[in-house]
Symmetry: C2
Subunit: 507 residues, 2 copies
């Protein structure tokens, strides 16, 4: 806005002195968008790039298509402005009584001040949802609403991590979580992911539990800089790990929980993609997809992987859930499941810091689940439809890659594409290649061909620690608008890789 | 929930060791509900109490009465599940382009991940709203969405207050704000409110600016325990101060800003009731009310008081707004206005800690304002209707009090009832009365008669500092359901006070 005659400009530096040191020193990092630093001289970006880089779901995944609102003409329009008075003196209802309907929530309650843990109907729904799918292995668990997983993770970090505390994190991860840990003075330390060629010649990945066990047993030797300060927590994305896409086996989960118990740390389970376990890749066809229709019971019992809550006999797991991927991110609604004592301190935090999540979001979510889907199982049936839509999109993208020359010539290999919204591709550089500089250069080739991806090393906790395994790309099939775009993006990617390899790994 | 055969109980004390010291030591205080501590032996509460104690607005003030939602049968129902493909490869829209419509916001944008400062359409609306009513007196100001005023205040405290920093606060206040200050290690120090008999024999109140000026000039002498550590901020509720109900005169505001400038502190302006400046008390009648109809321009120019932003030539004011009182608390939506450099550090905070406010809330608010009210002035016309509804409810309550024997006999006096949703009543104890113990005792008499209020001293920063002026009651006319209830509550209150005074200030 242009200054008007009554406004003045404020001299530089006078405002800085008003800002707290905490706020001045706070840093925020994100696995940034592509920059043009170090671009080859002849680099020319494509005029119509397609993004496989965004983790956000296409709006077609959001079930709400139209909202109609009825608004009053006047406040109290049925009483004071019509000069009608209500005769009876009503008793105050101090506490909301349980409703007959399962999760009934009216507008007047949703628009009122509400419990920071979530409105009573919402909490009731959350408990029922947890009980339907993964009841913790102990008694005193509780739920707490959050403004989505990111905010939920911050609540958990505040509750658990003191300055100097170590948080173990998979070496490639949803790196913004590191901001939360640093914000409370915690320290992040990477732990290894194991990438192995399997018998079919593909790559498979999982948490390297042997590395983790050794790290914990020999902490002072492996991490002398943190001598005597063993990890307080392990942060993990167990299904469709971001950015690598792998899903931990139940055995991995069981063993990691065992280590948590032995070495007394907390498991922070961030599971946004857990409900999107997909059927294996197949050539895209709607007929083919229909073979993978599941009943809700089969889905729960045979398709979903166990949450760490299932192994938790000691209350050392906090599960972080979100409605972002299975409803809509803009709701800003999620929840935490953990031991009541941990949830209690989080409630105190919420009362001071964040207050309650939006009643408007709770109102929309609950009424859609209850009235449109007929409850939890009806909503899970919608999630099953999302799952098939994701599987189809994944099939379209991966098909365009596996049917390419680049794939045939083994310039790229699939690491993982079995769950969630990300596939990961190994870029099969010859031994001894400088992964980071060559991946950076390849990226310009990709951008020239018109496809944007996330480079593995950009989501590394510690680039040096992970250098040898950072030769992969994260591809999201969540965001593009159509099958045509997905296929085109895969084709562009394969063509760029081929060109890069056949030009001796040069732009 | 009863434990099932697969659940176990967790031994006491094992969980506590997992919780951070920060979270374990965090305390949360609220001006609590009435307890029965020290109740007279023969105390018997009324079976149907009426609450003048709740600050929450009656649901009839929330404009939304019905929401209808249209939900898709399948994700991508118009493309993949109908086997139709979109032919054209679309370009990615990296940044949202400005819309033709003023604050148009579609569901697909609102339900997507959004800017932590608020969605672009929402930010645009906020800027226009600020410009319509109280543009700051300098150029580089910015807005930032919050999850309501409570969360907004926490953002501001984080941005400004370092451990040990002093925050001056009106001696009676919205006491939960103290939790935010303590949470970052700040220290709160009360400053005086001046209660004076005016020429009509009523009480008038305002910030005691002379006390404040003296306190600041002679800080080391008046507050030797904080020697050399002058206040960093002044937290104030300028219109319808909570709990006393008074509104600062423009002169008071101008002088306080001058002090801020001289003594280099920030003003945190918390103004939830600023839009509810009411016509003076008159006997309730709808005809009477209609005389107070205002045009939107008259309202802005002659009824609203100036925000501290109007005096702010140095960027030392942060204004905290909320839609809780002029739309609905359950939205959890508000915003901050301040210097761009302060808003920038708050943006970093939001990116890590709270993330963005709910898109669902922004969607509802913006579309109602734009489509139903036709923009900002149309929405202000709705607020004018709320204002008349509040004035009417205030008239009903105050009428039942001023027409009582207790008032005639001057056992009680009105301190303030000119704005917002609170009136305050002085309880005219004889000189030398122990205000706190007698107010506590009177409260049991009020509860026996069936009316709940907030006692002055319960909202004091420092009971001892404010003992002499804590003989007042806060009455909210926001929450009860009808005129009949409001009148009955006032009648009960007056009867209880009379009985108490005529029984020699005994139960």
């Amino acid at each position: 806005m242009a200054p008007t005659s009554t406004t003045t400009a404020i001299p530089n530096n006078s405002i800085e002195s008003l800002i707290s040191s905490r706020a001045s020193n706070r840093s925020f990092k994100h696995f940034a968008a592509n920059t043009s630093d170090g671009a080859p001289k002849n680099f020319k970006p494509h005029p119509k790039p397609l993004a496989l880089s965004f983790g956000r779901p296409n709006a077609q995944f959001f079930p709400v298509k139209k909202i109609t609102v009825q608004v009053d003409e006047f406040p109290f329009q049925d009483s004071i402005f019509k000069n009608e008075e209500i005769d009876e003196v009503k008793e105050i209802v101090i506490e909301r009584l349980p409703e007959e309907d399962e999760y009934s929530l009216g507008a007047s309650e949703a628009f009122q001040y509400g419990d920071v843990k979530g409105l009573p109907a919402f909490q009731k729904f959350l408990r029922s949802f947890v009980e339907r799918i993964h009841t913790p292995a102990y008694e005193d668990w509780a739920v707490h609403a959050s403004n989505g997983a990111g905010e939920g993770l911050n609540k958990v970090v505040d509750a658990l991590i003191d300055p100097g505390d170590i948080v173990l994190i998979e070496e490639f991860t949803f790196s913004p979580f590191g901001n939360n840990v640093r914000n409370v003075g915690g320290v992040i330390v990477p732990t290894k992911i194991k990438f192995e060629k399997n018998i079919k010649g593909d790559i498979s990945a999982d948490v390297d539990v042997d590395y983790l066990a050794n790290l914990l047993e020999n902490w002072d030797e492996v991490r002398p800089e943190h001598k005597g300060n063993k990890p307080k927590a392990f942060y993990t994305i167990p299904t469709s790990q971001n950015p690598t896409g792998f899903t931990q086996t139940p055995e991995t989960r069981r063993r990691i929980y065992e280590l948590a118990s032995i070495h007394n740390f907390v498991i922070i389970e961030d599971d946004p993609y857990g409900y999107l376990t997909l059927p294996s890749f197949a050539e895209p066809s709607l007929e083919n997809l229909k073979d993978h229709d599941l009943t809700v019971d089969d889905y729960i019992n045979h398709s979903l992987l166990p949450s760490y809550l299932k192994y938790d006999t000691e209350g050392r797991v906090v599960r972080v859930e979100t409605f972002s991927k299975v409803f809509a991110p803009g709701l800003r609604l999620g929840f935490l499941v953990g031991h009541k004592k941990i949830i209690d301190v989080i409630t105190k935090y919420s009362s001071i810091v964040t207050r309650s999540p939006s009643g408007a979001a709770q109102l929309l979510l609950l009424n859609i689940i209850e009235q449109k889907y007929g409850g939890i199982d009806g909503w899970l049936a919608w999630i099953l439809k999302m799952r098939l839509a994701y599987a189809h999109r994944r099939n379209v993208l991966i098909s365009s890659i596996v049917n390419s020359e680049a794939y045939e010539k083994e310039y790229i290999k699939i690491i993982s594409c079995d769950a969630g919204m990300f596939a990961s591709l190994l870029v099969n550089f010859p031994e001894g290649t400088d992964n980071i500089s060559k991946l950076t250069l390849l990226n310009y080739k990709l951008l020239q061909h018109g496809v944007a991806v996330v480079l593995g090393y950009k989501m590394a906790i510690d680039e040096k620690f992970s250098e040898a395994s950072s030769n992969f790309l994260r591809l999201s099939y969540a965001c593009l608008d159509s099958d045509v775009e997905l296929r085109e993006a895969g084709t562009r990617l394969a063509a760029a890789v081929k060109e890069f390899f056949e030009n001796g790994l040069e732009y």
